[in-house]
């Protein structure tokens, strides 16, 4: 039954093409009016909206199947456990991991990176070692590594980028060496939209015996990800950016690595036996899942993955690519605009600054037109510094956005020009 697995199979046949109007029907919030105007939601890199099936799955869980998992022998507990574990299997399949136990549920990308830094990092990084991140990381893929370096006396190295926002692989090669323990890089930059050549980055790190964590927060919503093909050691993402609930995300880790790592948090569910003398830990993935998890969130995420699974992903990728190109042309065409992030390979993100207008003022004015964009440093202050700007305005797209919405953004930007002369 639907509750037990959180599935939307049978919801409708797999789509073979892409009809945006039909997709929009699935997202109730898109019918909302903001200040009397239709909502134009272009802040998908911050969080995506949720389809009705995800909202329903969470409601169904709480109204018909709520119980704690992995504990009770009663019917509801078994049902909840089955649904939660089914969600894990869906995440595994979506990332093409080998085994379900390689998927660990966490709160989101930030917790995921902290888990790897704390558990793998503390065990394997020693004084004099080096950890490599890139110049375009989100703070969540900088700070946990900085904390680890500080604790261990290790050194943080940074892969530089060019003016288009592309990583310089030649410089990266020079950074790699016998001291490199971990390389942590995002697949898609949240501030610039750059799609990084992570397969190459991983291959180069492996040639030096280093392990690699890929921050997939911005890639999983837009690109197919195959962790086996990438040969990624760790791959992490957040549920709420892939049309699932906030507060749930996952770490993929190679089983052999996860096996060798100490627990991240101690508590219930992560143990096999506890005495006051000694505790033995549970098997993967439970070793890393102390305490009652966000069961409804896991089920919601599983449903979100089912939802995107029944769409035509290659048609979506083509549509999003087209939309981003259209938006880039339209916004650039206004004049007095500088696009921040002009890499050849980009996904979803259009960051820009406008001559003589601070991004914050852009954000406030376009909001009055019902257009939701993000303004600020996007938790990537080093990126802002690299481009010599305090902040950008950022429109970020999902497959439910349309060219008409881009046109509305452009009209709103004209209004900005009109007001701030």
């Amino acid at each position: 039954m639907a509750i037990a697995t959180g599935t939307v199979e049978g919801h409708r046949p797999k789509q073979t093409s892409f009809e945006v109007e039909r997709i929009r029907e699935d997202f109730p919030i898109l019918k909302r009016k903001i200040r009397g105007k239709p909502l134009i939601y272009l802040d998908n890199a911050a969080t995506s909206q949720k389809p009705q099936v995800v909202i329903d799955a969470i409601t169904r869980y709480y109204s018909a199947a709520n119980a704690n998992i992995h504990r009770g022998v009663h019917y509801l507990s078994e049902q909840a456990t089955a649904a939660y574990e089914a969600a894990r299997a869906k995440v595994r399949a979506h990332l093409n991991a080998r085994e379900d136990r390689e998927i660990i549920f966490v709160r989101g990308t930030t917790e995921a990176i902290n888990l790897v830094a704390y558990s793998y990092g503390r065990k394997h990084v020693k004084k004099g070692d080096e950890i490599i991140v890139s110049a375009m990381e989100h703070h969540s893929n900088i700070v946990p590594w900085q904390m680890l370096c500080e604790e261990k006396g290790a050194r943080l190295r940074v892969i530089p980028m060019n003016d288009d926002g592309e990583l310089l692989l030649d410089e990266y090669e020079k950074l790699l060496g016998p001291h490199t323990r971990i390389v942590a890089v995002n697949h898609v930059s949240n501030a610039l939209g750059t799609v990084n050549p992570v397969r190459k980055i991983i291959e180069m790190a492996h040639a030096h015996g280093a392990r690699v964590l890929i921050d997939g927060a911005q890639s999983v919503p837009h690109l197919p990800v195959d962790v086996q093909d990438l040969d990624s050691d760790f791959y992490v993402f957040s549920g709420h950016k892939v049309f699932g609930p906030t507060g749930i995300g996952a770490v993929y880790g190679k089983a052999s690595l996860l096996e060798s790592m100490p627990p991240f948090m101690g508590g219930g569910d992560m143990i096999r036996t506890v005495t006051f003398e000694k505790t033995t830990y549970n098997d993967l993935p439970y070793k890393f899942e102390a305490g009652t998890p966000y069961i409804a969130g896991g089920i919601g995420l599983g449903t979100a993955i089912d939802y995107i699974g029944q769409l035509d992903l290659s048609a979506i990728a083509a549509y999003e690519h087209d939309l981003l190109e259209y938006a880039t042309r339209a916004v650039s065409g206004l004049g007095g605009i500088r696009i921040i992030g002009t890499a050849r390979e980009k996904a979803s993100v259009l960051s820009f600054v406008m001559d003589g207008v601070h991004p914050h003022d852009i954000g406030t004015i376009v909001d009055r037109e019902g257009v939701a964009i993000r303004t600020g440093h996007h938790c990537a202050q080093p990126v802002m510094k690299r481009f010599g700007i305090p902040a950008t305005a950022r429109a970020s797209f999902a497959f439910y956005n349309t060219k008409e919405e881009v046109d509305a953004l452009v009209r709103a930007l004209l209004k900005v020009r009109e007001i701030i002369k």
Binding site: V357, H358, P359, H360, D361, G376, H377, P390, A391, I420
Partner: protein
Amino acid sequence: MSDLGDLYQQVILDHNRSPRNFGKLADANRQAEGYNPLCGDHFTVYLKVENGVIQDVGFQGSGCAISKASSSLMSAFLKGKTQEEAEKLFQTFHEMVMGKLSEPERLESLGKLVALSGVCDYPARVKCASLAWHAMIAALKGESREVSTE
């Protein structure tokens, strides 16, 4: 619903375009930095205080139209005010931008600064309007540290 014109009043746009007292004050004897890490607004406020009276004000930095205009209007308004008056004005100003001014007649004491009253309808922008004021108070108190709106 408030109109954007209530926020971006002409006087604000004017002070944004041509900020008054912009630049480092050579003979300042007090200064403090204000930083809003959320949006990157960053200003340094310079004061020349003699015998408890603010003789001169300058400011430097970058930020949005609201923060820049607020800094500029403040710099012009504070000249000649006593330390005590400045602190009182800060109170009134802060209550105004928060939309919590208990006695509307106190608005009069703010002069041109009333142009920033529209900010109270934009909660996300209150920090922009008050940034330079926090720095100014820190400077008056002789705190040379950076003040943050966070």
